[in-house]
């Protein structure tokens, strides 16, 4: 119970917010709105799942927003070049994994601090993309791009199912597979992990590669909701994702946290912006409220621990 305190408190906050909405603005639970909120949150969740792995090993990756933009543009360009969608998805996934592998190489291979490495790649990828695409939308995409050509409702379903599948796979993997335990072990005590025959470098590297691949997946899931690709997409994604992971109770010192908490954290943050529209809040308060929610969520947990 104590061990899952944060998961419960975040879920409770989410529940309170939803309850408030149910009373004040039941329209929030309309099918269309719910679907949009969830499909918009799905890519964030997928990235957050990957980020959880990285944070569990006591690292961080703030370049995900830039990776996301690169992957999205790549998906658009490949689709326009006539690649079939499955090939596009695979290619983007591989591309994302490659970007993650680069970060991982510097972090795990050379032992550089992840926050600095990914700060550098964050800037580099973003600026490279801007230089290359100059902000131009990737337009004139083939019809099979949006919703994978499945039509809107099946497409939305596909996105949700895909995100759910990724989530379930990772929940299962983290809890029930040996590598999942390795991830916790490396974040909990790196040296002890080494002495147990785990190779922490490879585990760390693996989490970055996985995160990269998941960013690729998320980029596709996000891009196929639209008819063209905005190269600025993913701006600020790193903040959203890190905030979701942290609010969800994953310790930045590694080794502690669950994906269920992350799910609650991501959903909570995803609901805030539309909720403010429904609650008719003046938009200028939005950032302040988001910041306050993050601070309150972590402070509540912190004060509980400080009192203990």
């Amino acid at each position: 119970m104590k061990r899952y305190g944060r998961e419960l408190s975040v879920t409770a906050s989410l529940g309170a917010l939803l309850l408030l909405l149910a009373v004040v603005a039941p329209a929030f639970f309309g099918r269309q709105q719910l679907l949009t909120t969830l499909t918009a949150a799905a890519p964030v969740l997928v990235v957050a799942c990957g980020m959880t792995l990285v944070v569990l090993t006591r690292q961080i990756d703030i370049s995900v927003g830039s990776q996301f933009a690169l992957c999205s543009v790549a998906a658009g360009l490949l689709a326009r070049a006539g690649w079939p969608m499955p090939a596009v998805i695979l290619a983007v996934l591989a591309g994302g994994a490659l970007l993650g592998a680069f970060n991982g190489l510097l972090v795990a291979g050379l032992g550089l601090p992840s926050i600095v490495v990914t700060l550098a790649t964050f800037v580099t990828w973003r600026e490279t993309l801007r230089w290359w695409r100059e902000g131009e939308f990737v337009k004139d995409l083939p019809d099979r791009f949006q919703w994978l050509g499945l039509g809107q409702s099946s497409g939305q379903l596909f996105i949700l199912l895909a995100a759910a599948a990724v989530f379930a796979l990772l929940v299962y993997g983290l809890r029930r597979s040996a590598v999942g335990r390795f991830v916790y072990a490396v974040g909990s005590d790196r040296e002890a992990a080494r002495l147990s025959g785990i190779r922490p470098e490879w585990v760390t590297w693996g989490t970055f590669v996985t995160l990269g691949a998941l960013v690729g997946v998320a980029a596709v899931l996000n891009a196929i909701r639209f008819a063209d690709v905005d190269p600025k997409t993913g701006t600020g994604l790193e903040m959203q994702v890190v905030a979701g992971v942290v609010v969800g109770g994953v310790a930045v010192s590694g080794g502690r946290g669950t994906l269920w908490g992350v799910l609650a954290g991501v959903l909570l943050l995803a609901c805030i912006a539309p909720a403010l529209v429904f609650l008719k809040f003046p938009p200028q308060w939005e950032k302040a409220i988001q910041g306050a929610i993050i601070l309150v969520a972590v402070a509540a947990d912190g004060s509980r621990r400080a009192r203990r």
């Binding site: 597979s177 040996a178 999942g180 080494r194």
Partner: protein, 517 residues
Amino acid sequence: MNADPHIERSNLGTPLLRLAGVTKSFGAVRALKGVSFDLRAGEVHALLGENGAGKSTLIKVIAGAHGPDGGELEVFGSRLERLDPGTAHRLGIACIYQQPALFPDLTVAENLGIRLEPSTPWRRIDPTARRGWAEALLQRVGARISPEAEVRSLSMPEQQLVEIACALGAGARVLIMDEPTASLTRREVERLFELVRDLRGQGVGIIYISHRLEEIFALADRVTVLRDGESIDTRPVRDSEGRLQLTESELIQCMVGREIAQLYPAPLRPPGAVAVKLNQVGCTESGVRNVSLEIREGEILGMSGLVGAGRTELARVLFGLTPADSGEIQIGGTAVTIRSPRDAMRHGIAYVPEDRRRHGVILEMPVADNLSLAVLRRLFTGGWLRASTERGMATDLIQRLGVKCAGPQALAGSLSGGNQQKVALGRWLATQPKWLILDEPTQGVDVGAKGEIHKLIRELAGSGLAVLLISSDLPEVIGMSDRIAVMRGGTVVSTLPGGSTAAQVMAAALGQSEEAQ
């Protein structure tokens, strides 16, 4: 996992492990200069040597944590070029380090699972089955621990038992134990010994490292002494009739290569006036309650008790790390309030903590900076650092304490354990305290340095300091103390006169009344 410790008896006596001329360097430091060593099935082979002699490096080579630079390494009869932790583990070499290498965030069962289940990463975990065999293993080592407990919540001895359970479960044929008794109470030590003898009986080869020579005599079949990265000698402890073939002083001489001073020097002066008086001191947060004590000037008050009896907790209360919430502390006859280490320091209290590497010194900082850390304000009035002042102070202390280091600018982390401990002590001597609290000052310190530290403590007491000496090393408490306070359950249960026997101290610690004995 499937623990199958029943090695055929025919294996008994054949070497499980053979090292010849093994060398290992870290940068320019040659940690091992040529070590030969062998381990037979069914023996306890003690490894002795001062800190820095290369014991830790040697066992890390055997456990695969360090690759050797040269020499031969033969495991179970086959030569290996190098070993990594995974391979060592598969071959059945288990190592219990001084600091348990467990994962604090995971449960006991998960910890065991990581090491005992097949190392293929992509396999499914069955939590129920895991819990079952984890429970069985824990029972085998006599640990009453829930497999679902988070390791974070376990005490040091409990964590050690988990480590042993792990080694058992792995069906280890070679078990390395690095100072396993350092933080155990006597009763726990006894239980550990039983376990070790049991394993020996099953044909496991055990490499046993300890600074406590009496343990070596009680347990070991053979002893290898290391000095300066070389194996000096390997000898059986007893002859075929079971008579001891070695004496303590022989071993010590072999280890240090010279005669050392008496381990427990005699007191220099009789105690003076009461320096410190505790009256019903308690702290709810750390479980310390109703502690009443008196320490006189120039007196060494030993403090004994089982692990978890509240000795370190009391020290932390007195030093203001977890401030007292009841009772009264008097220093020099006046009541004082201690809410932070700074308060404590203002009143002349100095505390050399138990965990040297985490609390005692800052490993990444130079010796000089470490020595001046507690007296920065006093040393540099106005807050401006002056390098020459600091260097002078550090050089003085280094000389006075006999710290062996490359100079005041050597990083504290590059020093051996004993010398680190001297630096930790030196930092507090610089504050010119009136009251010195020492928490396990010789834990993990080799014999040579131990004698020097004891001599130093005596000298300090001789100069009029009140000393509170917390130690789990019973001979040390008995040999050093003018009186002995015994704690149990967070409070001082009795105060014994100096010269009490080990049995009397243990009885008090265990809560058996003397009449009952």
